[in-house]
């Protein structure tokens, strides 16, 4: 039982990172039906930016007290802004011109952008894994049978806070309303006086900023990164978005946590589990899609003509 609970904690903290990335996938897909393959690399870019900022602040080890709060806040905000700007730039340069092109064109462009980002990051820090300073002290608390570390709490809490903030943003602000309208019917939204291009830009800004949060958190949690980190994480996060119902914020969150949990449980309870965990994850995805083609929380979208 204690092992089971410990794996729940492991799974939730892994899932928290997937969930944060999945939010960006699902937002962009929801609004322009583009699978933004570059999103995983924006996430890695978030880790790289955080690393650069920490280096700039002269932080190379654990920090304590108010300085810790300041360092975390500065790095987090800077990573969000940089990644958000990167997302906006990608949309402006790569996707906007292809808005009315056949759907395959932006998809392939997304893969191209992903390659560009990966190569830029490889030039930046080389092809090897790079250490990320252990900023956050990591005491672990033993709650009954399981031990939970400070970093795991940080990951899960940040994921939840970001999701709630995003949900409030989308349902309680004017620009959120514009996003929902654009997602539903772009032309109608435009006719109603919504600036569609600005709305899509905001979507990229917010989604990429969340990837920046995920990037910072993963650096802190794993203490290392490398230029190709976003590939696997991006794929899993995309799966999470599909599992939960692509286009659905709560679904992406649920999918992320579920995939983290399934991975941890598969590792524990399937013989040779570490090598089969991905198989289990994707089998679950296939099963869910057979019985619920639009994902767990997905709504069946009206067929677009």
């Amino acid at each position: 039982m204690d092992v089971f609970l410990q794996q729940v904690v492991n799974g939730l903290s892994l899932g928290g990172i997937y969930a944060l990335i999945a939010l960006g996938y699902t937002m962009v897909y929801g609004i322009i039906e583009l699978i933004n393959f570059a999103h995983g690399d924006v996430y890695t870019f978030g880790t790289f930016t955080s690393l650069a900022i920490l280096t700039g602040l002269g932080v190379s080890g654990e920090v304590h007290g108010p300085w810790l709060v300041a360092v975390v806040a500065i790095t987090l905000v800077a990573a969000m802004l940089t990644c958000g700007a990167l997302g906006v730039l990608i949309e402006l340069l790569a996707y906007r011109r292809l808005r009315n092109a056949p759907r395959l064109a932006p998809l392939i462009t997304a893969i191209g952008v992903s390659f560009i980002l990966e190569n830029v990051m490889q030039l930046w820090h080389g092809p090897s894994p790079i250490p990320f300073p252990q900023v956050v002290p990591n005491p672990s608390v033993t709650l009954g049978l399981v031990s939970v570390s400070a970093k795991q709490v940080l990951v899960i809490a940040l994921a939840l806070v970001m999701m709630i903030a995003l949900q409030l943003f989308i349902y309680n602000t004017k620009i959120g309303k514009a996003m929902r309208a654009t997602a539903q019917d772009r032309d109608a939204a435009q006719l109603m006086g919504i600036n569609v291009n600005t709305t899509i830009l905001v979507t990229f800004l917010v989604g990429s900023a969340l990837a920046g949060v995920a990037g910072f958190v993963s650096g802190v949690y794993y203490g290392t990164t490398w230029f190709f980190n976003g590939f696997e994480a991006g794929l899993k996060a995309f799966t999470a978005a599909v599992l939960g119902g692509i286009g659905n914020i709560l679904g992406a969150m649920l999918g992320g946590f579920l995939i983290g949990l399934i991975e941890a449980m598969a590792t524990q309870y399937v013989p040779q589990g570490a090598q089969w965990s991905n198989v289990v994850v994707f089998s679950v995805l296939v099963l869910v899609l057979i019985f619920r083609p639009s994902g767990l929380l997905g709504e069946s979208l009206p067929e677009k003509v």
Binding site: V3, Q6, Q7, N10, G11, S13, L14, S128, P129, I130, P131, Q134, N138, S140, S147, S149, Y222, G223, T224, W226, F228, N229, F231, E232, A233, E263, A264, M265, T267, Q268, Q272, G273, A274, Q275, S277, N278
Partner: protein
């Protein structure tokens, strides 16, 4: 080069002399199999070339072996450790023109022997319960499989053997599983990039921080030290080569090398020296058999293959039927204070 100079200084019968003919397989600083193959073709087309030393990397060897096999030109590699170059189906596939003739030999040992050395060292430390993790690649899995077998044979208990998935970065679930089994050792077969550093780092987060960690030379790089950070301390790893500076048989060579080149010996200098000397001895023996006439490549090859009990700086060398050395010496290092420190040599019996 040093071996060639020494041999010429001693004098070669019949007025011949040895010439070192250097070609580099590196293109823009990285070894390149295509360039390696090109170089060997150049050797093959030159009738005066009777034997070659090299290459350094297994991937280059893969490109070269079919060519030397076709030409019957003997090559001895100082440093390629991929088992498939000499053993099993993989090696058979490389011998394209003459499947029954082996032209490729090596004075270094092979990766799979590292698993055996790791197992013998772990038992020496008194470790009993091992949890094995590998990266599911040829090198890592080979290492881990041999370790599993040898560790059990030496009286240890193997609690589990898991394979990592490429690209995975979170091993906490796996390590939690391992922790529940109560190992006193985690053996890792793989490289730093395929998970070594992260695995070691996350051991501390999952209550395995005080458990021993042994790996192969896939983690003997600076990336492991920087990525694993403080948790790298206490890690042991094996290297499929002797530590030349600690070998009593190598003192004369080390002195001669440093005098000639005014720089300390490299990790594979002694190996290359031994390989060259074996070839020189084989050529001289072949000449003696022919009454001083220049031998053919086939004569030299036969004499290299028959090498037995050859005294060299890296021990007494002989070749088995695959072309592998019969006296593998490996070394164990321990990371301490962020630096690798030599622990001991392990001589395996074959």
């Amino acid at each position: 080069m040093l071996a060639v100079e020494q041999a010429n200084a001693k004098g070669v019968p019949g007025g011949y002399s040895f010439v070192a003919y250097d070609l580099d397989d590196a293109v823009q600083g990285a070894h390149d199999p295509a360039q390696g193959a090109q170089n060997v073709k150049q050797f093959v087309s030159d009738d005066a070339v009777l034997a070659m030393v090299g290459p350094f990397n297994s991937s280059v060897a893969q490109a070269q072996i079919p060519i030397t096999n076709d030409a019957g030109l003997v090559q001895i590699s100082p440093a390629t450790t991929n088992p498939g170059l000499t053993k099993g189906d993989e090696a058979a596939k490389l011998r394209t023109s003459h499947p029954d003739v082996n032209s490729f030999f090596r004075v270094c040992t092979t990766d799979d022997k590292q698993g055996a050395a790791g197992a013998s060292f772990a038992r020496k430390l008194g470790l009993k319960k091992a949890f094995i993790v590998d990266d599911n690649e040829t090198y890592g899995k080979g290492l881990a499989d041999v370790f599993e077998q040898q560790f059990a044979a030496a009286g240890g208990t193997v609690l589990g053997h898991e394979h990592l998935t490429k690209g995975q970065t979170d091993y906490k679930a796996l390590l939690t599983k391992a922790h529940a089994l109560g190992p006193d050792l985690v053996f890792y077969g793989g490289t730093t990039v395929t998970g070594g550093a992260l695995l070691r780092k996350q051991m501390a987060d999952t209550g395995l921080g005080q458990v021993a960690f042994i790996g192969g030379d896939g983690i003997s790089d600076t990336e492991f030290l920087t990525s694993a950070g403080q948790s790298a301390d206490g890690v042991y790893y094996t290297v499929a080569a002797p530590e030349t500076s600690k070998l009593p048989t190598a003192t004369a060579f080390v002195a001669a090398y440093e005098k000639r080149w005014k720089s300390p010996v490299g990790p594979y200098s002694a190996n290359a020296y031994a390989a060259t000397n074996i070839e020189i001895a084989a050529i001289e023996k072949a000449m003696a058999e022919k009454g001083g006439a220049l031998p053919t490549r086939a004569d030299v090859l036969a004499n290299v293959a028959a090498t037995k009990g050859f005294a060299s700086p890296i021990g007494t060398i002989g070749f088995d039927k695959n072309g592998d050395t019969t006296a593998p010496i490996l070394s164990v290092y321990k990371i301490s204070g962020g630096k690798p420190v030599f622990v001991e040599q392990i001589v395996l019996k074959v």
